[in-house]
């Protein structure tokens, strides 16, 4: 019996992994042991079928069921050669050149198999944390230099320290002086999917990270605020939580200790703004996702007014390793004030799209060409947008910028959540500038005026510029408006929505003045 591996991640499913699995089972039946594992994160190869051979796993992809006859003819079950064969998967340069810390298990585990998680070193961070004092755990995280991976890049250890030091008031609804760990899983940025990968492909890692955060801060309840656009992740998380409860990782007396932690997934409902932490908390409280003014800090008065850690999925998923291998181990990756690794996500018009976890410091060019292999269309890359819909468009002139928080900021960009969306030379960046404001208008909570009215006005002014109407005055007005939104908005949505627009004005100014006739942002083959 030959063991085969095929991902059950939603990306693989979106391109036919289940159909392939059915065909394999139908045609090979007892001959094979088909394991549905996590993805390797090489999405251009999905569905990627791997075959266990004495030399290691040999990969084939992207496959469809129609490829099966020729594969079988090529001795698939013994790792035979075929045009779709990529050779030994582990040696694929895309993987071999990565430093996978947070995503070390990708491809090696079945997402909901607890034995697989343990076999990959899972729970050892928790085990260690159970023997440490809260302060020792917090110190370990501080030592690691981990900064929030959701975009704001705030040092995670400092946030935890604040919550650890906070005195929780009694809360009647919970009948205790409760603190919370809230996982921000509202991964709404276009071009990002690393949170989804953790949740779909290694959910126990997130659970372990949240448990460690709870031990560190004295929190007894946790919520994963998950975007409604991720139904697959929702199902996986629900099952994972049930399994973890059954095995004593969650609930009362964690692993027999006196610690307790109750964890729930709460589904969002289609509001990008709820990725902003205070709007997220409002939403978790059952309210409109309106941004709160800070102070008070959520760490002191967060969910239901209680001290609350709000961390992104990747931040929390980084914690088990930091605890098991020590903060110093993690810190030794990266450069400057950007420590550890960053899971970058290559997306859009890129030949080899997928997850690239590397230490901070790699240049954009290396990512785009060495990992990404250039554009999918084969045409020159004109721009990349980094860090989601509020991120700047970076022209090729800056492709040698190293990817760390500070260096990117210096060219007007931001790491954000690590999403990199690639545009080829056919993309209409004038249209993308308009879209940036359209998106801001669509997703504005409406609380503050610069964002509520400004985003609509910016669309109108952009439209006039693109129609060539008083272009100069309107461009000045646009610049003024962007400035107002940036400086005066209540939160980062209104405050950063001008970034893509300003970067396009700055680097691709001429594109603002031409309206393309076809709806296109590139990618035409």
């Amino acid at each position: 019996m030959t063991r085969l591996y095929l991902s059950c991640d939603s990306c693989a499913l979106s391109v036919g992994a289940d159909e392939l699995a059915q065909a394999l089972t139908a045609q090979l039946g007892e001959q094979i042991d088909l394991q549905r594992t996590s993805t390797r994160g090489m999405f251009w190869l999905e569905p990627l079928l791997e075959v266990d051979t004495p030399q290691g796993r040999v990969g084939y992809g992207p496959l469809t069921a129609e490829d099966l006859p020729s594969l079988l003819a090529a001795d698939l079950l013994n790792g035979g050669d075929h045009p779709l064969c990529i050779g030994l998967v582990e040696q694929h340069p895309y993987l071999a050149r990565q430093q996978r810390l947070t995503f070390a298990s990708l491809g090696h585990n079945r997402p909901l198999a607890m034995e697989d998680y343990a076999a990959q070193g899972g729970w050892s961070g928790l085990q260690r944390a159970l023997n440490l004092s809260p302060q020792q755990i917090v110190d370990e995280v501080k030592e690691s230099g981990l900064r929030g991976r959701g975009g704001a890049a705030f040092p995670t250890g400092i946030k935890w320290q604040t919550v650890l030091d906070a005195q929780a008031p009694y809360h009647r609804g919970f009948d205790e002086a409760v603190k919370f760990i809230v996982c921000n899983a509202d991964e709404g940025d276009s071009g990002t999917f690393s949170d989804r990968l953790v949740m779909e492909d290694n959910p126990f890692q997130l659970i372990e990270g949240m448990l460690i955060a709870a031990l560190a801060t004295g929190a007894t309840r946790g919520y994963i605020y998950l975007r409604a656009e991720y139904p697959h992740a929702h199902r996986v998380l629900q099952q994972a939580i049930t399994l973890a409860e059954q095995q004593g990782y969650l609930g009362e007396a964690i692993l027999g200790s006196h610690h307790r932690f109750h964890l729930q997934v709460r589904l969002a409902a289609g509001a990008y703004i709820c990725g902003e932490e205070t709007a997220l908390l409002e939403s978790l409280e059952g309210k409109r996702g309106m941004v709160r003014a800070k102070p008070p800090l959520p760490a002191l008065e967060g969910l239901f007014g209680q001290p609350t850690v709000v961390n992104n999925v990747i931040s929390l998923a980084s914690v088990p390793l930091i605890l098991s291998k020590g903060g110093a181990h993690y810190r030794d990756f990266g450069q400057g004030r950007s420590r550890g690794t960053m899971p970058l996500q290559l997306a859009g018009n890129i030949r080899q799209g997928g997850l690239v976890e590397v230490a901070f410091g790699v240049t954009l060019r290396e990512i785009l060409y060495d990992f990404g292999g250039g554009s999918a269309s084969g045409r020159p890359i004109k721009a990349v947008q980094i860090g989601g819909p509020l991120g700047a468009y970076i022209p090729p002139a800056h492709f040698d910028t190293p990817l760390d928080y500070e260096a990117l900021a210096a060219v007007g960009g931001m790491v954000g959540h690590g999403g990199i969306v690639v545009f080829d030379d056919q993309a209409d960046l004038g249209q993308m500038a308009a879209f940036a404001m359209e998106f801001c208008a669509l997703e504005s909570c409406g609380k503050c005026t610069p964002c509520r009215i400004g985003s609509t006005r910016a669309q109108e002014v952009l439209a006039r510029i693109r129609q060539g109407e008083d272009a100069e005055d309107n461009l000045a007005l646009l610049t003024d408006l962007c400035d107002t939104m940036e400086q005066a908005s209540l939160c980062a949505l209104g405050g950063m929505a001008p970034y893509p627009v300003k970067s396009i004005v700055k680097y691709f100014g001429e594109e603002l003045h031409s309206v393309s006739q076809t709806p296109s942002a590139g990618g035409q083959h």
């Binding site: 003014a293 997703e443 609380k447 503050c448 005026t449 009215i453 400004g454 006005r457 109108e460 005066a488």
Partner: protein, 952 residues
Amino acid sequence: MIGYFDPKTDRDLGTPASLSTSLITLEIDGEQVQVPEGTSVMRAAALAGINIPKLCATDSLKSFGSCRVCLVEIEGRRGYPASCTTPVSEGMVVRTESPRINKLRKNVMELYISDHPLDCLTCPSNGNCELQDMVGVVGLREVRYGLSVSNHLHLPKDTSNPYFTFDPSKCILCSRCVRACEETQGTFALTINSRGFDSKISAGANESFMDSECVSCGACVQACPTATLSENTVIEFGQAEHSVITTCAYCGVGCSFKAEMKGNQVVNMVPYKDGKANRGHACVKGRFAFGYATHQDRITQPMIRDRIDQPWRTVSWDEAFQFAASRIRQIQAQYGTNSVGAITSSRCTNEETYLVQKLVRAAFGNNNVDTCARVCHSPTGYGLKMTLGESAGTQDFDSVEHTDVVMVIGANPTDAHPVFGSRLKKRLRQGARLIVVDPRQIDLLKGPHYQADHHLQLRPGTNVAFINAMAHTIISEGLEHSDFIAQRCDQAAYQQWLSFISDSRHSPEATEAITGIPATELRAAARLYAQGGNSAIYYGLGVTEHSQGSTMVTGIANLAMLTGNFGRPGVGVNPLRGQNNVQGSCDMGSFPHELPGYRHVSDSSVRQLFEQAWQVSLADQPGLRIPNMFEAAIAGSFKALYCQGEDIAQSDPNTQHVEAALGSLECLIVQDIFLNETAKYAHVLLPGATFLEKNGTFTNAERRIARVRKAMPPLAGKEDWQVTQGLAAALGYTMTYQHPSEIMDEIARLTPSFQGVSYARLDELGSIQWPCNDEHPLGTPVMHEDSFTIGQGQFIPTEFVPTEERVNGRYPLLLTTGRILSQYNVGAQTRRTANVAWHAEDVLELHPHDAEERGINDGDWVGISSRAGQTVLRARVSSRMQPGVVYTTFHHPFSGANVITTDNSDWATNCPEYKVTAVQAEKVTEISKWQERFRHLDSYQRQLLSESQAEA
């Protein structure tokens, strides 16, 4: 003359005050400023005289941070923090103006104006618009976005509310209305529909204001910085040019208002921010229902007639006084000194009430003076005097902010005391626990973000059994506050009471069959009350208007003593007074057995004091109480009555009995603003003045004396105190007051608890809670702090004596009566305003089960009969009733609610038992006999009135 009062300039400091006591020093625009920790930068600047521009901030609401025009620069901080949401910190250096900041502000204002109609000149808020002000402040000179941009200028107005208009085209989405509805009023009737640019203020679930949960308190209108929410009177008349601070003449909360005036016309009523009873809030009555003051039905000339079937003759004041005085003297000559008397009103001022009792005692020469407090809170006076030594509530309204457990017994604060209701709900949302003791499901039971812990839905008439079971539980479970009892209470009385209450017949298990309250529920409530921290009892007429009203008040005081809940903020016994000046009318010696300050007429030293001051000798025996007056009238020994501002024919129980009594009088002098029901039996009609037309003081439920200031001249030329003075003069007893302040000076001279009160002092302090004397020069927010007025608190056993009013086969239902938010008492005022839009008629609420049994459907005519009479109302099948209990209000005279109620009354004070009447209800097709007679009499009397007015 009209006495203007200039209050402190009420600047809006932007954010609420911080209660912190530690001080922070910072620098704002180069000035050193010291403010309490937790103060916002905006407020700190305002306190230093620096006005940072703002739109969404107002000091009555928590900071919100949405408008972004209050941005400032703070050294060492990135960007431009909003000054409203940034708290001060030690050593902070703030800059509130710079070219950079002003540019940002100007750009933000430009965004606002790009979605705002440019009709300032014809806008109702012109001259009083914060948006307009801010445009001016930042110097916005052009809107570069042009006119053809997307906007909300086409949104239609909502004119469903009779008092205000919602014009969303002018809305700037500052959410002040939404927040006011939530934070101030506690109704949460407003929200924002959708989000982003599509955001729009929505009442309810996208409903019209009238169809939504809105209770028309007007907090949103007041909070609105633009013309989006505007009073219709402002839209019609324009902006006021001066204002007068005065006190509301509706319920016992005693809200302080700014009457916004244009000449003699009230444009609108704005609750006064510095008013300590209401803290800037109001209800639909106080804020909006002032139109009755200029209603065409107002009586504006004195009138007399010999017999009540004659037309009125319009006469001069003097002729009216002479006519009345000669009648009184004739009657006294024929039937004796004691054959005449007077009734004072809890709606009139302290000074007016004081004068009427003085007139009775000094000019009539007897003690036949009573007040309408007789029929509402006289048991409060009795019960609290006996146990604590003072006939008044023990706390101020602010006290509720320190309360952990609230027990509301027989009161409906969200309807009858709405502003206090809002303050109470705020505390409940903060986590205070709530026990409601009421036969009916009142609105307070459950509201946005809180829910009562216990609803003890007792049977009407079983209060005393309930309160005894509470005390029994506390004793039997050892939850009493022994130290407090030992230190503060009379031990002998306590021991006697203890042996009484310990009897197992008072256990919750034993009383369950009487009250209908499950014993386990009652025990849980008793534990909560005894152990929940600061526990406060608030009660209303559901406690007093019973044949055991005085016993129940005593039981309440016992319970609070038992648990040590006296003498500090957050606790106490708090009677919610029905009318604006119930407390004051009692204080002023309106009771037939007491001189001002609750001193018995038999006390010769007190009598001497007054005899000297008034230069007469005073009777030393109690006079007649209101029900006794009716009995005596029917018996033929009581022949003349001077009734000021009180409509006994509608408000007192057993209407037919009252009508018989009034019909027996040879002289009835009615002083009122309208031809009320009582006036239809009158021989002399003296026009009264509304609270807007006179000077004086009211004393609210928290003993707070507050000024009533004349905002317009009296329609009939005289303030009510002048009328009483005129009548006294005609009787040969001269009073020479030039101004009500002189009356107050006399009261202060003669009444120890008012010793420190004067108009000058009231102007200085805003209001004063008595006692105010050398010991308490600033007044007394919380009474009985170190010891009770009586000395040692007196526990008094409270035997439960069931009312004689029992259900039987013929009268199987219990009727209980109450009030509704939009109407006030007999409705004489509110029925003459647009408040009828909410409550155009009284209805009979009955449980679906009782309705079903009788084949009654919602809206059917239902005949209600009791041992006293019959009337007909429309049915409202309602799940808030318990089976076997029906409910109605008494706001409309034709409803005849009091035709049904009986002569039963409180054993100690004769307070009528309005709350328990055995009745039968059945479907009918025509109005009752009484109603037919009423209609006839009503139209006949109206005709007599219009004849006289035509003649005049």
